[in-house]
Subunit: 411 residues, 2 copies
């Protein structure tokens, strides 16, 4: 493994200094070639699908795995969108003259080699390869075993375009070892790999965070809260809560626990129940909640659970303080919201809740690169350092200082 | 240990939202109290010193450990400097309106709890505690065993000021367990500790990087290069090389390997030898160098060595390409410089050398928070993510997104 990681590192140095135009051109060629050879990809995918059926993958997983002409063409379109993103490398983030008249510039540069570990969706292969390439990084892709043939087909088309442009194909490398051991080795190779981004199940992410020597930016779970304050606009409170829960329950920015101020519980809980019933949401409530509406009883475990399903736990809290304490204790610090018309309460919530995204009067479902306006997204970081929340292509860069002198020495 | 780390975490939440004025006031009080009780600190330090002599610490280490009234008053002044630094928390880094008219602000916030592991200098205790406090972070300090009593004296004065201000004293905590085991436990506590900054020997840093579950920002070695290009101004080349090596040879931004273009080697090497001889620098050269000046022969090991002494290795290279290849292979990517009057060569060097600080026509000794104009410095990061190169107080913050809505839901 060391040998090919070394090649990836060398390749990343070549990619790092390509001009923006050249990178876009190559991404456009990649899109074209994916379309041209879509049959090869669909054929490889068929093999993955039949193995998947044999190994009893769930219908949902099989659907995520499935590729046809339309889906391959969508992948190609996504590459075209990435091609025209604003150049992430070479942005002057700050610049100044120091006391010795040195001109110092803090400039965005590629991170180097990024290892991305993900699961079944094969379009992640082309998307992340393209995002890494556009930001001047080499990438080591480790997809799911179940999508192996599809991923090989996609990655080999992308890297062949690099070769056609006289660039080292190792800048886009699929990890040849699909075993857990392959990952175990990869995350120890800090000499060649600069960053690991794990996307996937909690267990995988925990394993990587606990064992990686290479820095990790996690894409972990989202246990999101919305707190309906006593000064909430009831209409907003209802539409925000319902949207945050039901619009797409299976994702990390969906609402899991609703906190309702006791002053408005009597008024709002019956309306909420009516609305959620329309969406067949399974509601679970604390004892106070059960006094007002007839739903299932929530247990202590419920406050700690990312359902990723159309289930919502509801807790009546006595004030802002209790709401904040609950969130600080149970939140995964992904996205938390307050609904209130009270200016000072909103400010206090925004300041004291230390989640990557803190909302006033809006659905937590907006925590998303696309919704933020970043274009194609790398994912949503639940790490605290380097990049937090929705990660756009700029988050795949770091910086260096360029210092321009005319003979300065230090006294 | 878990219990007091939990307290530190809770304390950090209180510190996180203090007003700038309150934080400065408290830092000023800390400075005053250090001065008022300087005798206690000097007394504790005497015990450390006598133990240090007993355990045969080198004179250099003993000098770093030593505190008298003057040095304690300097520590206090340094707190006053930190007190008046520009507020690092709450800076709006970016802000925009998304398509749904959500106002999104990316705002700097404290990181949380920072564990700092360092060696003998006791002033690091007060400096880092103050930098963490000013940036709204809690800190867990793990100083060197040899400075234990001094550190206890200093830290207890600082945390007593927190108590006097009705703040949780655990926001500044000295790790009670001074053993390696104490560190081993600390770096696994990612539930309570958000960042580890190790400053110290290579072995310690390697141990921490390889075993920490908590994210690490290293303050590692500096193997710095200066390349004298054929179009260099000879006078600048000489003063820059000499300054980078001899002005303070024991630090990480000092020059270790000088690369000399073969076109100018014949002219410049004899002058360089004459200048370095004035500073009694021990020179070691490659075979080409030895043909021109009579110095010690460098071995392969020398290119890989951070001397931290008044020793310099010299290599003659045939062109820019060879210089870049040498630096990419041996550099610790801390600080590397070129001396040239050629515009395009300077640009190429700046772009292709991926070190945290890349210089044209200046001494690498400028890689320093103070010289960069950051004020008190946390150190010099040799990590690639979150913070690279000189770390100022702003680097002790991360960010969150505050999102201001008026009822937006996602479609």
């Amino acid at each position: 493994m060391e040998k090919f990681l070394q090649k990836a590192k060398e390749a990343s140095r070549v990619i790092a200094t390509l001009s923006p135009k050249r990178k876009s051109d190559i991404l456009m060629q990649m899109a074209e070639k994916l379309e041209k050879y879509y049959k090869d990809i669909v054929k490889a995918n068929k093999e993955d699908m039949s193995l998947g059926r044999k190994f009893d993958l769930t219908p949902a997983l099989l659907d995520r795995l499935f590729l046809d002409k339309e889906r391959v063409f969508k992948m190609a379109d996504s590459l075209r969108e990435i091609a025209i993103l604003k150049e992430p490398v070479g942005r002057v983030l700050e610049g100044w003259i120091n006391k010795d008249n040195l001109r110092i510039e803090k400039v965005s540069v590629p991170i180097g080699v990024i290892g991305i570990i993900y699961e079944s969706r094969p379009n992640v292969t082309s998307d992340t390869a393209a995002l890494c390439f556009k930001s001047g990084n080499g990438c080591i892709l480790k997809g799911g075993k179940e999508a192996m043939k599809s991923n090989v087909a996609i990655a080999s088309i992308l890297s062949s375009v690099l070769e056609e442009n006289n660039l080292p194909k190792e800048a886009i490398t699929l990890l040849p070892d699909y075993s857990r051991e392959g990952v175990s080795k990869l995350i120890k190779m800090d000499k060649y790999v600069d960053l690991i981004i794990p996307r996937g199940g909690e267990k995988l992410i925990r394993y990587i965070s606990q064992n990686s020597i290479v820095p990790v930016i996690k894409h972990d779970k989202g246990l999101c809260h919305t707190y309906i304050h006593e000064k909430a606009d009831i209409k907003k409170a209802i539409s925000i809560s319902v949207n945050a829960k039901v619009q797409r329950p299976g994702v990390c920015n969906a609402l899991e626990t609703l906190l309702v101020d006791k002053t408005v519980a009597q008024t709002i809980l019956p309306i909420l129940k009516e609305e959620f019933d329309k969406h067949s949401t399974l509601l679970k409530g604390c004892e106070e909640t059960l006094k007002i509406i007839d739903i299932q009883k929530a247990t202590e475990d419920d406050w700690d659970k990312e359902y990723l399903e159309n289930i919502l736990s509801i807790k009546v809290v006595s004030d802002l303080e209790e709401a904040i304490t609950h969130i600080q204790r149970y939140s995964s610090f992904h996205s938390d919201a307050i609904v209130t018309e009270d200016y000072s309460v909103a400010e206090e919530f925004l300041n004291r809740i230390d989640s990557s995204c803190v909302y006033v009067n809006a659905s937590t479902r907006f925590t998303d690169g696309g919704e933020f306006g970043f274009g194609a997204e790398v994912g949503i970081s639940t790490s605290k350092l380097h990049s937090r929340g929705p990660m756009g292509i700029n988050d795949l860069t770091t910086y260096k200082y360029k210092i321009y002198g005319d003979g300065q020495v230090r006294e």
